[in-house]
Structure formats: structure tokens, C-alpha cells
Amino acid sequence: MGTAPASRDVTSYGMGLAAPLALFFLLFFVAPLLQLFWLSLHNDTAGLHWGLGQYLHFLTDPFSLGVLGSTLLLGAEVTAVCLVLGFPIAWLYQRVGPKLQTIIILIVLLPLLTSVVVRTFAWIVILGRQGIINATLQSLGIIDTPLKLLYTQFGVVIALAQVQMPLMTLPLITALGRIEPNLDDASCSLGAGSWRTFFRVVLPLSLPGVIAGCTLTYAAAITAFITLSLVGGGQMLFMPMYLYQQASTLQNWPFAAAISIIFLLAVLAVVSVFTTLGRLSRGHGGA
């Protein structure tokens, strides 16, 4: 104990403690991704000839581009559904007592921690030919033959929205909790109606939460391999299954690597758009 400890900040720890995890990530996260990128720059499966052939193949092939486009579109649809359904949950959460608050949180949380296969399986039971929806509609005499709900875009969107809803709702609850409650009253007493207050005051102030929720939901939705495979079926191909088929079934590793890189870049692009919007909205909210 000299005089040195007095000047040292006792509340922080040295960066050295982060070294083991940093090394672990370098070896098992950064290195694999670099190796993936390196392999994607080869024209043959043996990885001997350099070239951009794999990327050219993907970017000039209408089928591949279609898979990418439908995957990105699907993510947007799921995110929109989650936002429309998730925001009222967060709104309701702020209005009820602590007991109900805990119940709402647990309802939102449980699916997040329940196996994704189980949750997807539930949607097969609900949407199937003999499923709940078809059975109900038939017994009510609304339809004669079962509707095709499974293996359709509608089925995939609704199942994915349910699976990813917690990722949207939790950040929204946090964001709404941070809004000064008096603002709501102020807006109403100044003559703005509830709807107007919601769209002009509450929604803009909760934008950071909206953007955080959208980012998580979108990123999770387009990589949800199990749900896409079981509810989407064989007819609809999305990026995760496309990647898996090329890598596992066809053993075309360089092309699978190129698909992965394009997929990664697409996700990064979407995430950075959301992040930029988030930064702008925070600037707006602070003003």
C-alpha cells in the first residue's frame, strides 16, 4: 500500500479480465468467419482457384435472388405484425397494477424460454388440415374443405410473429416505462385527444425501444431455421434452408460460404439502418 492506490479507481477493473473472452472470440468466432469469407472467394469446391464466381453465381441467378428477397420481405412482415401486436401489450403493462404487470411479463417471457421446436410444433397443431382453425371453421359451416394454412406465407408470418413477439415486447416495455407520465396528461389537458397524444407524443418518445425491438425481431425472424422449415415446408425456400441445403446435402461449401456472407451482409445492412434510425430518434427525443 503506497500512495498509488489512492489515485487508482477502485470501482473499475482492469481490461485484462476481458482478455480470455476476447481470445476465445478471436479463435472461435472471428477466425471461423474469416475462414468462411476466404472460402467464399474460391470458384471450385476444393478451394484451389481464387475468384468471385460464387458471388457472381448468386447475384446473377434469379432463383437465389428470389430466395434472398423473399427472406428479407418475410422479416419485414413479421416485424410489422410483432410491432402492431406488441405495442399495445407494452402500453397495457404501464396501466395495470404490479401483480398484473408480473403476469404480463411472465406471459411474454415464457415463450422466449420455451424450446423453439415446441412452439413451432404448436403451430402445426393449430394450422394443420385437421388443426384447430380448420376444425372450428368446418364445424361452424363456414368452409367445406380444409383451408391450406400450413406451408403458406400467412402461416409462416403468424407462427414467426408469435415465436419472436417477446423480442419486440420487452424493449417496448422498457422504453414506455422511461417516458415521463406527466407528458401524457399534459398533452391531453392541452386538448389533444388520446389518439393524437399516442401518435404525436408516446410513439415518438418510445422510438428507441421500437427500433431496438425491430432490430432483434427482424434478425431473429429471418434466421429462424426450425420455424421456417416446419411451417414453411419444402415449397417455400428461405435463406437459412438454402444455406443448409447447399452446405449439408450438396456439400457445396464455397457456394454455401458465399450465401452465408451475403446473408450476413444483408442482416448487417438492415441492423445498421435500424441503428442509424435509433441514433437519429434519440437526437430527436433529446431535443
Binding site: P5, V10, T11, Y13, M15, A18, P20, L21, A22, F24, F25, F28, F29, V30, P32, L33, Q35, L36, V84, L85, I89, L92, T102, I105, L106, I107, V108, L109, L110, L113, T114, S115, V117, V118, F121, A122, I124, V125, G128, Q130, G131, Q162, P166, L170, T174, G193, S194, W195, F198, A219, T223, F225, S229, L230, L243, Y244, A247, A257, S260, V267
Partner: protein, 271 residues
């Protein structure tokens, strides 16, 4: 007159929001309830409502050795991946939590990136690297891969717990002559323990449920439960899977209830 219009307007807003919220909550909870109910069917199909109720599919589950084997593997991998995540993640969280330097912020982004990047791409990348260095797929490669995607939960929850720690507590402890290690053991660790446990719990659950990494890093000898279930469901709609789902849902509800008691999980995830 205008007052009444305003209350009507306010009422319409509250009604619409409440109705959507209730519908959304039902959509969230209904599928799990449906699975639990269907798992008690006495029939051979997944009809809802079931023609009758019995425990036959749970009895069937008792003999499903393939599922037992996969469940055992998944538990072992989740156990080791969680342990490794806690050791590496808590240390890293201590280092980066109170530091405002650029390197701390960069490390934070690096450690969080597995949450956003498509895990399937990482799974493929890890398989390629392991085969390049001649490491065959094994429980070890699974533990390594799972740790990468699970450690962010531990880091995030520990950082959040550290952020709520009063710096004056640590200063007082230092002024009173306690060493840094002693302060850590007696003050910091007890206060951040619920955060660490919550992070470890989420890491464990997400490892147990992981598909994209396991898909590439397992083989027949290291079959994992979610993959086994997925492959069973691709083939046929097996009611045994419904019984297994019932077991998993009930186990999750029980674990979440315990965690809510121990760590206040619900508050932790919304703050």
C-alpha cells in the same frame, strides 16, 4: 359537448389498445396451452380437442431411448457451455462495464454480435474451421460453438447488474482498508449474483434449445434434442413429441417460477 366527445375518443383509444393487447397475449400463450392439452390425448392424431384423455404418450416417452439419448447430450453440452460462459463472461463484464474507453466499447459490440448475426452462418463457419484444423465434431466442438452464442446473455446481464452497483460502496470498502479481492468477494459478488444467475439461466436455456449451431457441429453420436425433435417432426407428426413438448413446457414454467423468486427475472429483463 366537446367534453363528451373527448371522453368517447379516449374510450375508443383505450378499448382498441386493450383489445389488441389481450388478443396478442392470447396469441402468445395459446400455442403452449394447446400443446399441453393435445399431449394428453388418448388418440393417435393431433386432433384438437382430443377425442379422450390419457397418459399413454407420456408412458410412450418413457421408452423413447433416442429422445433420452439426445436429451442427455443436450443437457451435458448446455451445462458445460453455461459454465464456460459464466467464467469467461463475468470476467469480461467486470472489465468492460465501468470503462468508457473505445476498446471497451468495441469489445462490448464484439461480445454482443452473436445475438444479431445469423447463427446458421456461424455454425457453418465453425464446422469449416474445425474440419480445417482436423478437429472432428464432438461434444467439445458443440460446447465451444454454444459458448460463443450463449456468452452474450451472461455478459449483458452481468454488465446490467454492475451498472446498478453504487460506486460509493466500493470506495467505502477501500477506505476501510479492504483489498480489491476482499471487496469483490464480500461486496461486489453478492450484489451482482442475481444478475449472473439470470444470465446463466438464459444462457443455459438457449444452449439447450440451440439449433443453428448444433445443426453443423453434431453427428449421430452427439445427437441433440431440438434437432432430434425437428427431424422426427419432418418425417411424421408424432404424438410422442407432443408429450415431450408437454414435459419441456412444464419444466420451463417451473424453472422460470424459481428464477423469478431467486433473481427477479421479469424486472431484470425490462430495465
Amino acid at each position: 359537448m366537446s367534453g363528451r366527445r373527448r371522453t368517447l375518443e379516449a374510450l375508443s383509444f383505450e378499448l382498441v389498445m386493450t383489445v389488441i393487447a389481450v388478443i396478442a397475449l392470447i396469441i402468445i400463450i395459446a400455442p403452449s396451452l394447446v400443446v399441453v392439452i393435445v399431449s394428453f390425448t388418448s388418440g393417435f392424431s393431433l386432433r384438437f380437442p382430443p377425442p379422450g384423455y390419457s397418459l399413454r404418450w407420456y408412458a410412450e416417452l418413457w421408452n423413447a431411448w433416442q429422445l433420452h439419448f439426445a436429451a442427455k447430450n443436450s443437457l451435458i453440452v448446455a451445462f458445460w457451455a453455461t459454465g464456460l460462459s459464466v467464467v469467461l463472461g463475468v470476467a469480461a463484464a467486470l472489465a468492460i462495464s465501468r470503462s468508457r474507453t473505445l476498446s471497451a466499447r468495441l469489445l462490448d459490440s464484439l461480445f454482443m454480435s452473436p445475438l444479431v448475426l445469423p447463427a446458421l452462418a456461424f455454425g457453418l463457419a465453425a464446422l469449416m474451421l474445425f474440419s480445417l484444423v482436423g478437429l472432428p465434431v464432438s461434444p467439445l466442438t458443440l460446447v465451444i460453438g454454444h459458448t460463443v452464442v450463449c456468452v452474450p446473455y451472461v455478459v449483458r446481464n452481468t454488465v446490467a447488474a454492475l451498472a446498478q452497483l453504487e460506486p460509493t460502496l466500493l470506495e467505502s470498502s477501500a477506505v476501510l482498508g479492504a483489498s480489491r479481492l476482499y471487496t469483490f468477494r464480500r461486496i461486489v459478488l453478492p450484489l451482482i449474483r442475481p444478475g449472473i444467475i439470470a444470465g446463466a439461466f438464459i444462457a443455459f436455456m438457449s444452449s439447450f434449445d440451440n439449433v443453428p449451431v448444433s445443426l453443423f457441429l453434431r453427428d449421430a453420436a452427439t445427437d441433440m434434442l431440438p434437432i432430434r425433435m425437428w427431424q422426427d417432426l419432418e418425417g411424421k407428426l408424432d404424438v410422442t413429441i407432443a408429450a415431450l413438448s408437454g414435459v419441456l413446457i412444464i419444466a420451463t414454467v417451473a424453472l422460470v417460477a424459481v428464477m423469478e423468486r431467486v433473481t427477479g427475472l421479469s424486472r431484470r429483463l425490462t430495465n
